[in-house]
């Protein structure tokens, strides 16, 4: 099919408009984070800083709350990721390989967990965790995150398991390997890309999560990075936008790394691969 050159030009203009709409905000955030306080306050803002100034970053990193928030977020995200992988691997294997009655149940639960507003879950969760002294603790948040990252992790992983050729497992079982042995030494190595993708996705969703953390963590010592950032905004009067912009950029880095890494798969394989299950 040949496209006329007029149409072609229009297409490029349209794509450019889209990319400005989608990309400009982040560009502005990064540029803001590199501006000096004087330049920041200017009423005629410019897209690029006149001279690059890293003082916002040092200011942000000198802020006690931010560093602590960063540490808390990191801890919670890492623990959650490890737990999710341990739990999701056997389940997704069973989902992809067995025609069990648990399969429609699990898929139904994945759907239900999307439809119900979290307010219905968070109040009882709060009431369950409080007598166990798990509100306001990192383990409490980690187990909640684990349960709520599971649906998507399962959905992703079972697609990857389904893509592992059955013949390999059959060969192993003919050779006398047990099911567990087969999973560990045949399926797992082949699943590595899937495990990495699932791990990163879980990490990012815990890293970005806001609502459960808002309800479950009251202690300022334990607040995660999103909570710390949100509180900065709340204090509108004295808020310093420069360091806030710098901290926001830092908070975005893990997700940007993840998306850069997965870009190709996100636009082609990931979704179609995951549906195949």
């Amino acid at each position: 099919m040949r496209t006329r050159s007029g149409t072609r030009v229009l297409q490029y203009v349209a794509v450019l408009c889209y990319l400005i709409f989608l990309g400009f905000p982040l560009l502005w955030l990064i540029s803001s984070s590199l501006k000096s306080p004087q330049e920041f306050a200017s009423i005629t803002p410019t897209l690029l800083p006149k001279h690059f100034d890293l003082s916002n970053y040092t200011d942000a990193l000198n802020e006690q709350g931010l560093i602590r928030g960063l540490g808390n977020s990191l801890q919670i995200s890492i623990y959650t990721t490890i737990l999710v992988l341990i739990v999701a691997l056997p389940v997704s294997y069973a989902l992809a390989r067995f025609r069990s009655r648990l399969r429609p149940l699990t898929n139904g639960w994945i759907l239900v967990s999307q439809v119900f507003p979290v307010i219905l879950i968070v109040i009882p969760l709060f009431m369950i965790l409080r007598p166990l002294h798990l509100t306001n603790t990192i383990p409490g948040v980690v187990i909640v995150y684990m349960v709520w990252s599971l649906p998507f992790a399962l959905w992703m992983l079972q697609g990857y398991v389904a893509a592992v050729p059955r013949e390999l497992e059959e060969a192993a079982s003919v050779d006398g390997a047990s099911r567990l042995r087969t999973i560990v030494s045949i399926v797992m190595p082949l699943l590595r890309p899937g495990l990495i993708a699932t791990a990163m996705f879980t990490f990012i969703s815990s890293w970005n999560e806001f609502f459960f953390a808002l309800v479950l963590l009251q202690d300022p010592q334990l607040k995660t990075l999103p909570l710390v950032l949100a509180r900065f905004v709340g204090a509108e009067g004295q808020v310093q936008f420069g360091p806030l912009a710098a901290a926001s950029v830092l908070a975005t880095v893990p997700s940007l790394v993840f998306f850069a890494f997965l870009q190709r798969r996100l636009t082609s394989g990931l979704l179609s691969g995951a549906v195949k299950g």
Partner: protein, 305 residues
């Protein structure tokens, strides 16, 4: 399946229960946490809407039947919040769908720099919601935000607009941010759908002399129908239930003009301690979503059949 492939048929029958036992064993580590922290809270949450539960450790909770719901029925703020929630959900979902379809169609052509464009199109997806909110507060800032600067340079306005602080502009501004955030997911899904359409359909249509517009109308849209129904349903659910973005952008203000149902319920539960009331709101939200989805999916799927 494995049994039928590996073993002759007579071994299949005794193999079945063993397989089920194995499956249950593999499910076990997930089952307990999911039951305790997801299934049970959900059921208890639904039931909580019929009680007068309040925050605090040693407060009596009584069953009150439909009391909470009749109170909600007479609460003007609650109705406002739901009206805002519906406007928000429909505007974001529909506008986002139209915008994402346009972008997906463009990215599906053979233009140059497609790879770069696809990467940039994913940016909003890659950002934490709280950071998105902070960023848009910077962009829409009345005195030193670039949006006001650009509008003034184009002489579209002669005074800076406080987008997030004005009664009339707050909801539209929040909707724009909502569209921005959700575009990548919708675009990527639609793009995957577009790539799955059989090219020969277009070739045949071109031979028959069909215009680009008629190809879009008679091939692309019908072929995409399932994907469109799936992604718009999901978008609708996510938008109706969304919280963090607007909480940080406006916290429901100014004057409750952006008070989405989830924000309203959150305040009811954790600001005023009315757990029962907040759960009742959650129940109403679930019913609305289910009724709406049933209606939407039935209509869509009927036209398909």
């Amino acid at each position: 399946m494995t049994a039928t492939l590996t073993a002759p048929t007579q071994v299949k029958k005794p193999g079945r229960p063993k397989q089920n036992r194995e499956a249950i064993f593999l499910f076990l580590p997930a089952l307990l946490p999911v039951l305790v922290l997801s299934v049970y809270p959900l059921i208890r949450g639904i039931a909580l809407g019929f009680t007068n539960a309040r925050a605090g450790l040693h407060v009596d909770t009584n069953f009150v039947g439909f009391d909470n719901f009749s109170k909600l029925l007479h609460n003007g703020l609650f109705w406002d919040s739901f009206r805002i929630g519906v406007i928000w959900t429909l505007s974001v979902t529909i506008l986002q769908f139209v915008a994402a379809l346009g972008l997906a169609l463009l990215l599906n052509t053979d233009i140059k720099f497609r790879g770069v464009a696809r990467t940039i199109a994913l940016i909003p997806w890659a950002m934490p919601p709280v950071v998105v909110a902070i960023m848009w507060r910077l962009l829409l800032h009345p005195t030193n935000g670039p949006v006001n600067e650009i509008l003034q340079n184009l002489h579209l306005t002669d005074h800076p607009i406080n987008f997030l602080g004005n009664f009339s502009t707050a909801l539209p501004a929040v909707i724009v941010v909502g569209i921005w955030v959700g575009m990548p997911m919708t675009t990527v899904t639609l793009l995957a759908g577009l790539q799955g359409i059989d090219r020969t359909l277009y070739e045949a249509a071109a031979v028959d002399g069909a215009s680009a517009w008629s190809q879009f109308w008679n091939i692309t849209l019908p072929q995409l129908r399932t994907v469109i129904v799936a992604i718009t349903s999901l978008d609708m659910i996510w938008n109706f239930n969304s919280f963090g973005l607007v909480y940080v952008l406006t916290a429901g203000g100014p004057g409750g003009k952006t008070m989405l149902p989830m924000l309203f319920a959150y305040n009811e539960a954790f600001r005023y301690g009315n757990f029962g009331m907040a759960a009742a709101m959650g129940d109403v939200m679930v019913v609305i979503i289910i009724v709406f989805l049933a209606f939407y999916l039935r209509n869509r799927l009927r036209t398909e059949a």
